[in-house]
């Protein structure tokens, strides 16, 4: 692996190049990258889910959005076809998953924008807003689910 392309976080985690005074303190810390045993803090979880939801929206969301909007606008018949397709339980589950991805990405995104303009950047505030993002996203997804079924 090329060390130049590694992120500073990687280097810090590996205890590699940094000031000697820092190295003495940090090198005794456990380097603990077992994903099954790492306990991610809540803001980290929100950030991780932001990325997962973004990837999901890119891979599945955008093509389905275009296909759906295309069908909905083409003709009254294709509009009705789309209605029928969405009534399918599997389609409803996919839509619910995508709804969560969009809503979470939306809420977490607004949180990041607020952090950018230095709102709620203290640790308790950042933790609180992370919990709010998680709870509001799930609550709004439930509302969408109730509307779907």
């Amino acid at each position: 692996m090329n060390t130049n392309t590694r992120s500073s976080a990687d280097r810090a985690a590996a205890g590699a190049p940094m000031a000697s005074s820092e190295r003495r303190v940090l090198s005794s810390r456990p380097v603990y990258l077992d994903l099954l045993r790492i306990r991610l803090p809540v803001p980290g979880l929100v950030s991780f889910l932001h990325r997962i939801s973004g990837a999901l929206l890119f891979l599945v969301g955008i093509p389905l959005l275009l296909a759906g909007v295309g069908m909905s606008l083409a003709s009254p018949e294709s509009f009705a076809q789309l209605r029928n397709a969405v009534a399918n339980p599997v389609a409803k589950l996919v839509l619910l998953g995508l709804a969560w991805a969009y809503i979470h990405h939306f809420c977490a995104g607004i949180r990041f924008l607020l952090l950018d303009i230095h709102q709620g950047i203290d640790l308790p505030g950042a933790r609180r807003s992370s919990v709010i993002v998680l709870v509001v996203s799930v609550a709004l997804t439930v509302v969408v689910g109730a509307r779907l079924w």
Binding site: N2, F58, L66, G70, S72
Partner: protein
């Protein structure tokens, strides 16, 4: 300190970071607008849906939303590739495919939006 610049890197500038946020704000406004219309009308049927897209301002807003979405998606997937795909060759391949797909989506968007008029 950046010691080596990659052709498939972030170009170490502010432009993409800023555009990621500007496109996000634009998409937020459009999402709230559309949600507002749907809630205000108490649902959408075909006639209303067509009438909405026959409105030039809404059509352009929808087009702007899609352009913002596709550019926002590009910055996002590029960031993911830069974080996890360490091989420059593989990253170049993935980025090229993603750009091609996103530009194709833009063509599809134009077909849908202006084909419906």
């Amino acid at each position: 300190m950046v010691t080596r610049r990659e052709a498939v890197g972030a170009h170490y500038g502010l432009k993409d970071w800023l555009l990621q946020r500007l496109t996000a704000v634009l998409m937020t406004a459009y999402t709230l607008l559309l949600l507002g219309i749907v809630l205000w009308r108490g649902g959408i049927d075909y006639t209303l849906w067509r009438a909405l897209f026959a409105n030039g301002a809404f059509l352009l807003a929808s087009f702007l939303f899609m352009v913002a979405l596709l550019y926002h998606a590009w910055i996002g997937v590029r960031d993911i590739y830069m974080d996890y795909v360490k091989s420059v060759a593989l990253r170049l391949a993935l980025q090229s495919i993603s750009v091609a797909v996103l530009i194709a989506y833009l063509g599809w968007t134009i077909q849908i939006l202006w084909g419906a008029r």
